[in-house]
């Protein structure tokens, strides 16, 4: 039955995330952006909230909350509201842990999930984005070649979040012709021969406070059981579902976007009510007021699209359509909202004294990057 009401458990977790976002993320966003660093202290502090390990089963040491994409959507919106780049940094280990939980074999889960259930922050990441400009997950160029008793990975991944400190990467590669059905994911430890990380962090338009690096695979050889979801002794096909992973990533990114857009809209409303021109607050000019009305309406609407897609993921029905529509809509509207936020502030939207220009850059980065968060 159609309902827009989160459960009380979800509201509790959301409020926790919200509080953290409003204090820690907001406070550290600008200095981290200016210095292009992800503060480890922040990651450690976030760890105490259990945002990553809360959804992991108790059997592996996790919090034992249900794995819930709608809960993720609620949390990601709040983190995006605080700082979309630091928020993504906080959740980066999920990019590794959630696919392992969703698709991993029992052996893989037993080996890897406990890493994220300790007292200290543990970094791991997902490598999806590639160099070429016409990149599309369905037609990616990184390939995995199956040999008798090993896999050989060739290619290059870019903008891999937290590549500077991740202990493991989940690397998505193509094992056949184009198509999301021919994707496989591989678990690769940081010190694997043939893997070159960085060395430099990538410099980009936005997301400066989320360290990202290049990964190069020059014929990296992996054991058979490095393939996510494939039990080498079981004989069954891999449980990995490339389309589901992409859906989860699209929804996660869109949820972050809802958050940053909410921040932009709220800030613009406050500014417009304060800023006086021609004798009255600019919020009283129809043009500005209507822009704000549109921004507010779109934030609401974007959220419903994200929720719908997340709820389908949760109910394990095919969420491809819903995730694609949410992604299409949110990408277009989010950029427009961030851009209008700058416009409403005028010159003050252009200088770095206000957060608006940072939100603008981060939004443009967020909505063209794949794999910033998983729902």
């Amino acid at each position: 039955m159609i309902s827009f009401e989160p459960t009380s458990d979800q509201i509790m977790i959301r409020d926790l995330a919200k509080k953290f976002a409003e204090s820690e993320l907001r406070e550290q966003a600008r200095p981290s952006d200016e210095s292009s660093t992800t503060p480890q202290g922040l990651l450690d502090a976030s760890w105490q909230l259990g945002l990553v390990n809360g959804a992991l089963p108790e059997a592996y040491g996790g919090g034992g909350f249900d794995r819930s994409p709608t809960t993720s959507a609620l949390v990601l919106e709040e983190l995006g509201y605080g700082c979309v780049s630091l928020g993504a940094a906080v959740m980066t280990p999920s990019l590794f842990a959630l696919p392992v939980l969703d698709f991993g074999t029992e052996a893989q889960k037993e080996r890897l999930l406990p890493l994220f259930c300790g007292e200290h922050h543990h970094a791991a990441s997902l490598a999806l984005q590639e160099s070429h400009f016409s990149f599309d997950p369905a037609t990616m160029k990184t390939t995995a070649q199956r040999n008798a008793d090993s896999w050989s990975i060739r290619g290059e991944k870019r903008m891999v979040p937290m590549g500077d400190r991740a202990s493991h990467f989940l690397v998505v590669a193509r094992v056949g012709d184009a198509g999301l059905g021919n994707l496989a994911a591989f678990i690769i430890a940081r010190d694997t021969p043939g893997l070159t990380i960085g060395p430099e962090a990538e410099k980009t338009l936005g997301f400066q406070s989320l360290t990202r690096t290049t990964l190069r695979f020059d014929g990296v050889n992996l054991p058979i059981d490095a393939q996510l979801g494939l039990d080498p002794y079981g004989g069954a096909p891999s449980r990995f579902d490339g389309a589901r992973l992409i859906n989860s990533l699209r929804i996660g990114g869109a949820a972050l976007a809802v958050g940053v857009c909410r921040a932009v809209t709220e800030f613009a409303i406050d500014y417009a009510k304060q800023r006086v021109a021609f004798g009255s607050p600019i919020a009283q000019k129809q043009t500005i007021a209507f822009m704000l009305a549109e921004m507010y309406s779109e934030v609401e609407t974007m959220r419903w699209l994200v929720w719908k897609a997340a709820s389908q993921l949760e109910q394990e029905v095919d969420a491809t359509r819903a995730a694609t529509l949410a992604d299409s809509y949110v990408s277009r509207k989010a950029m427009r909202i961030a851009d209008n936020g700058v416009q409403i502030l005028g010159g003050h939207g252009y200088i770095r004294d206000y957060p608006m220009e940072m939100w603008f850059r981060n939004t443009r980065a967020l909505t063209v990057l794949e794999a910033t968060a998983a729902a």
Binding site: M1, I2, S3, F4, E5, P6, T7, Q10, T70, S134, F135, D136, P137, A138, T139, A178, G179, L180, A243, I246, I269, A272, K273, A283, Q284, Q286, A289, F290, L292, A293, E294, Y296, S297, E300, T301, M302, W304, L305, W307, K308, A310, S311, Q312, Q315, V317, T320, R321, A322, A323, T324, L325, A326, S328, Y329, R332
Partner: protein, 385 residues
């Protein structure tokens, strides 16, 4: 729990709505091209569905179910096999009528007569007057754009009982069709929705019993907004409905595009990204996303209404979104379909015309944004005009 799944029972009702709507499809083009004719209240095909009707007969429909049915009906086209006994004025009767008035009049249909030649959204400029002479109200004035103004059993007429008192003095009156002094000035010729009888009405010394002032409140409060609140209550119910109509037409256009292009070998796949799509596929995905967004905004407004929560902000948001997509989707679909899409052999061009009203009636998109802006900014209508 956040949930967007539709229950099996509702699904089967939607399927029935579709079947009924398809049975009426043969009349769509006819009444579009013969606007001078008034479709009968009951089309012959209605008999085929007697006793097999969906919802609304036995149990009370939720606003959400109703929206889902309207999406479906309007995506087929939307000529109803039998005209209901309810028109927009009935929502005002529901919202504002006294128990006695509801008892006496609910079985009749009432058009909603507010707009005047010189007054659209600005109700303070309304000129129709109602003067109390003994036990009767005497109405004088002219109304335009009254939907169902010819077919309905009567009208809810908005008139001022004190022209110096502004909006607070504007009150709704129930006026029955045969009341002397109530006449139809003309039936409008329109761009679209031609099967609907939109009329200009004239009230000339039209005498209405005193107890037909809706709600019965004859006072002019100095602080309140008078009958305006009743109009708002009406709109909070009808805006999601008319939004659903416009969205349904947009959906019809999208379906047509996809089906026809599939026949020509062009299919839309959702999974692959932008670089794997043709221009037409990209447009179709964006259109589909826009329709989905507007639909969800309607369901947001109706679920609030169904649970008894205020929804005037959400009703304005969904009307604003629906108005936008009802305007632009059929236009964009024609860009994809090219010249042949213009032909009256197909319904796309009709949906373009029909759906264009969505952003105009019951408050234009601009008025919606004004309502939204006032609410989110905390401004009065004086502070933001």
């Amino acid at each position: 729990m956040i949930d967007f799944s539709i229950e099996d029972e509702t699904r089967s009702q939607i399927a029935k709505v579709r079947e009924i709507s398809e049975a009426g499809l043969k009349y769509s083009r006819y009444y579009d091209e013969h606007e001078e004719e008034l479709a009968p209240n009951r089309l012959p095909e209605a008999d085929d569905f007697r006793g097999r009707g969906v919802a609304g007969r036995g149990r009370r429909l939720t606003a959400t179910d109703e929206a889902l049915f309207i999406f479906e009906r309007s995506s087929v086209d939307g000529i109803p096999l039998s005209q209901g006994r309810r028109d927009m004025g009935n929502h005002t009767l529901d919202a504002m009528g006294t128990p006695e008035q509801k008892e006496r009049f609910s079985h009749l249909s009432f058009t909603f007569a507010m707009t005047e030649p010189g007054c659209g959204s600005d109700t303070s400029a309304l000129r129709t007057t109602a003067e109390l002479h003994g036990d009767e109200w005497v109405l004088n004035g002219e109304k335009i754009f009254a939907s169902g103004g010819i077919r309905s059993d009567g009208a809810v007429v908005w008139a001022t009982i004190d022209r110096d008192a502004g909006r607070a003095a504007i009150k709704p009156f129930l006026v029955l069709r045969d009341t002397p002094g109530f006449s139809v000035a003309s039936k409008e010729k329109k761009l679209g929705i031609r099967a609907q009888d939109t009329a200009a009405l004239i009230f000339s010394n039209c005498r209405v019993p005193r107890d037909q002032l809706l709600g019965g409140n004859e006072e002019v409060s100095r602080t309140g907004s008078g009958g305006y609140r009743g109009a708002m209550a009406t709109f909070n119910k009808t805006r999601p409905r008319v939004s659903a109509v416009g969205i349904g037409h947009a959906l019809g256009c999208l379906r047509f595009c996809k089906e026809e292009l599939e026949k020509e070998g062009i299919e839309v796949e959702h999974g692959p990204g932008m670089h794997s799509r043709s221009a037409a596929q990209q447009m179709l995905i964006e259109i589909e996303a826009d329709i989905e967004a507007a639909s969800l905004s309607v369901l947001r407004a109706t679920t609030l209404a169904d649970s008894g929560q205020p929804n005037s902000l959400e009703a304005a948001i969904c009307k604003s979104k629906a108005g936008e997509i009802a305007r632009t989707v059929p236009q964009r679909c024609l860009e994809i379909l090219g010249g042949s899409g213009l032909s009256r052999e197909h319904l796309v061009e009709k949906w373009l015309r029909d759906a264009r009203i969505t952003d105009i009636y019951e408050g234009t998109g601009e008025i919606m944004r004004l309502i939204i802006a006032r609410q989110i900014l905390g401004y009065s209508s004086e502070e933001l005009r």
